[in-house]
Amino acid sequence: MQETVKAVSAELQNYADRGIFQNFSLAEQAGKGSVNYRFHWLAEMPFNLRLNVQKSEIEIKDVLPAVPFRSKMDKEFRSFLQQRSAESIPSHRRLDDQRFTFSCKNRQEKLSISIGFQSGDGGDAAKTAVNLLHEIFNNFLLEGPYQNYMVEFFNVPEE
């Protein structure tokens, strides 16, 4: 159990040490078998990753706000997530769905992603989560019709 926490924490800490994240903190929830990670990167609001050691799962919590369930954006996001495992994606950026499981939840109009991993794969799962966040912000939200959404909910400049 501690090995998984160590591996995930070390991977995320590495991004902070390299200056990719502007800041980084973690909080272990004693007795719950989980660790919450928080960092600023790509957006004004911090990202929250939750490691559930018991379930061998990393959740990117509430990554996209204000997305009604079954809305066009909700569907497009799920489709985007699925396509990230496709053969057409370069192998170095493809989500490895043989090694990890990916699922998307919409709770109170907030989209979260869970990445399930096998024992010993926690570090790579963390790396996958960070790269997936990058694809969401620099691909899905950039290529799609989300200029107004980004202004409204992520406070990006109007221009």
């Binding site: 990167w41 170095h92 799609g144 200029q147 107004n148 109007e158």
Partner: protein, 658 residues
């Protein structure tokens, strides 16, 4: 008369007869000249059409006559203004753009033989100089009068500063003797107003130090990372008289007051860089501003080809690495996300993490002449202090030859995906145009691209000012740069949308004189792109285009609103909506006509290319500029018409601000 002209324009014109009619129509006939050079202007005649309504628009005989006058370089005894003008000439200032004011100075600069242009608003003339610099790499100067003229220049100085343009700003400034008195008019302290918008500035105080401070100015302009330099000249300085050289302090040749020496990279750093490149699978160079100003494009090409390193551009100008090259990532956007080593070269305006689309696992090398900036915004894995050219030459020597076929394949696939997406947008644009009886910007972009790069024109020929706000998000997708200085990226970091016609004056002047990389295309027409909001700030410069016969075609996307109009009613601020909108269907092309140029009005996809062909031909053959007013819909920026307002992507062809 106007209705008659409109009827002609509403139909595509393919026949020689129709073209002939267009080229002579209205009062334009009266100002037709042979050749495009400003010095070749001839006395105009008055058109028949104008005779019917009143005096015709014409170029006064003084303009061609005085432009054709031989230069009269000053010699002692000289005024302060003449000393400075001679200094500028010796330092190779390649162009000068001003509005009257600072009279002693602008007269002296024109007399020295520096190509000089006088326009209609000081701010636009700053942008003309800035545009000239961005596509030539040479220093240009700009001038405004004290007080209001100078404060008109501020926005445009800010834009030049963000773009790191080596712009020399000179302005008159009352007299030292009247400081603080408010005697007469136009009192203003200048230097404090350009704080944060310049590299260096000085109000001249002591007449006999004018030469010394000129040296200060050019040391700043010609070394390190460029930015505007601002000198202001009180009357005591410009009017001072110097009988002989001994009256000037530090009066000696430029080889004594500045150096051409540049920083060379530490060999140990180059060794480390080579190790990093060799470890990487998908290395990518970001070739930015410094590559252009250091004239390092040939070294860049050799490095890229030697080790199969991809190159993406990011700068206020494009073309120092051809979009047509197999290693170009400027239109291979998805490959940018794949790079595992990023080598920033001469990236003076630094992005922050996340502004460029590189992934979180990419390593970063930054090569820059300014050590104090390395490490700002983006944490580095290796920093190299060097001139861009020297670093590239050192890398060329040290890197082994290598082929990365997988990387080349991924770049090719990314470029194809981008082109496919552009085609999809074009098809959507055609549908939206038909649905709304207007023209969608994707259609304009695609047709412009076909005209410039897939027709009879040498694809390297035409320099383009890629401006505008919303329109720019589409046209950038279709524009290409195949040689240095082919695209002037209008907005860049400062995001000013107004200067586009000013930039077009400057870029047109650069091509008119064949300066720097524009030499092979001397006299060719240039293209400018802007929106209706942007056009309003600088449209009066059509008089400048007209009077100097700078051959340009300015494309104005007219959607009846500010580009950010969805920020009002679109967000529920209905009470504010009126502030975002203009009157609809405004006829900007008629302003161009009223200023002695040609106008075209386009309301459908079928009309765009013929209008472009007519405008380009008129510019090429008669030096007459055209404004093409393209009627679109503001609603194209809403999600009703996806992809609506595409978001910024940087670096590369779509890059807007960095």
């Amino acid at each position: 008369m106007a209705k008659k002209a409109d009827a002609k324009k509403s139909k595509p014109s393919n026949s020689a007869e129709q073209e002939s009619v267009v080229s002579r129509r209205n009062f334009i006939k009266g100002t037709a000249i042979a050749g495009a050079g400003a010095a070749a202007l001839m006395q105009s005649e008055t058109s028949e059409a104008q005779d019917q309504d009143g005096p015709g628009i014409k170029i006064p005989e003084e303009i061609p006559r005085t432009l054709a006058e031989a230069a009269k370089p000053a010699n002692f005894p000289m005024s302060g203004a003449e000393v400075f003008a001679k200094f500028c000439s010796d330092e190779g200032v390649a162009g000068f753009f001003c509005c009257p004011g600072n009279y002693n100075m602008i007269n002296a600069i024109a007399a020295e033989g520096i190509p000089s242009y006088g326009g209609r608003c000081e701010g636009n003339m700053v942008s003309a100089a800035d545009g000239f610099i961005r596509v030539t790499g040479e220093i240009a100067a700009t001038s405004g009068t004290e007080g209001p003229g100078f404060t008109n220049m501020i926005m445009n100085i800010g834009a030049a500063n963000a773009a790191r343009s080596p712009l020399l700003v000179i302005a008159s400034n009352k007299t030292i003797g009247e400081d603080d008195t408010e005697h007469g008019i136009q009192t203003a302290y200048q230097q404090s107003q350009t704080d944060g918008l310049k590299k260096w500035g000085k109000r001249m105080i002591t007449p006999n130090r004018i030469y010394e401070y000129s040296a200060y100015a050019f040391r700043q302009l010609k070394t390190g990372v460029p930015k505007p330099v601002h000198l202001d000249f009180p009357g005591e300085i410009s009017r001072a008289r110097f009988e002989e050289p001994g009256e000037l302090q530090y009066y000696y040749d430029k080889t004594r007051y500045r150096t051409e020496s540049k920083a060379y990279p530490n060999p140990a750093d180059i060794t480390r860089a080579v190790e990093m490149v060799q470890r990487a699978s998908r290395p990518m160079i970001v070739a930015s501003t410094g590559v252009f100003y250091d004239k390092a494009w040939e070294a860049l090409l050799r490095v890229a080809e030697k080790n199969d390193i991809a190159v993406v551009e990011s700068a206020p100008q494009r073309g120092h690495f051809s979009d047509g090259h197999a290693l170009s990532a400027s239109t291979g956007l998805d490959a940018i996300r794949s790079a595992d080593l990023v080598i920033l070269i001469g990236q003076y305006c630094m992005p922050s993490i996340g502004e460029f689309a590189f992934g979180p696992d990419a390593r970063w090398i930054r090569i820059d002449p300014d050590a104090t900036d390395i490490g700002r915004n983006v944490p580095i894995d290796l920093g190299i202090v060097s001139s861009e050219k020297a670093a590239l030459e050192a890398l060329e020597d040290a890197l082994p030859s290598r082929t990365r076929q997988g990387w080349r394949d991924e770049l090719a696939a990314a470029r194809k995906a981008f082109d496919d997406q552009s085609e999809e947008y074009y098809r959507l644009g055609l549908k939206y145009s038909a649905d709304t009886e207007s023209i969608h910007p994707a259609v304009m972009g695609r047709q412009l691209s076909d005209f410039l790069y897939n027709g009879d024109i040498d694809r390297q020929q035409t320099a383009v000012v890629s401006g505008g706000y919303g329109i720019g998000r589409y046209t950038r997708r279709y524009l290409r740069a195949f040689r240095p200085g082919q695209i002037c990226n209008g907005a860049y970091q400062y995001g000013a949308i107004g200067p586009d016609v000013g930039y077009t004056v400057g870029v047109g002047a650069a091509v008119q004189h064949g300066i720097g990389p524009q030499a092979p295309y001397k006299g060719s027409p240039v293209i400018g792109i802007t929106g209706d909001a942007g056009a309003a700030y600088s449209i009066m410069e059509f008089d400048t285009l007209g009077k100097y016969r700078i051959p340009a075609v300015m494309i104005v996307y007219n959607n009846n609103a500010w580009g950010v109009w969805t920020s009002g009613g679109g967000r529920g601020a209905t009470r504010a909506q009126h502030m975002y909108l203009f009157q609809e269907n405004l006829r900007y092309e008629k302003i161009a006509e009223a200023l002695g140029c040609n106008g075209e009005y386009v309301t459908s996809p079928e009309q765009f290319t013929p209008a472009l062909e007519r405008g380009y031909k008129l510019a090429a053959t008669e030096g007459i500029s055209t404004l093409i007013n393209c009627q679109g819909k503001k609603e194209f920026w809403t999600n009703e018409y996806p992809p609506s307002m595409p978001r910024h992507f940087a670096p590369g062809a779509l890059a807007y601000y960095k």
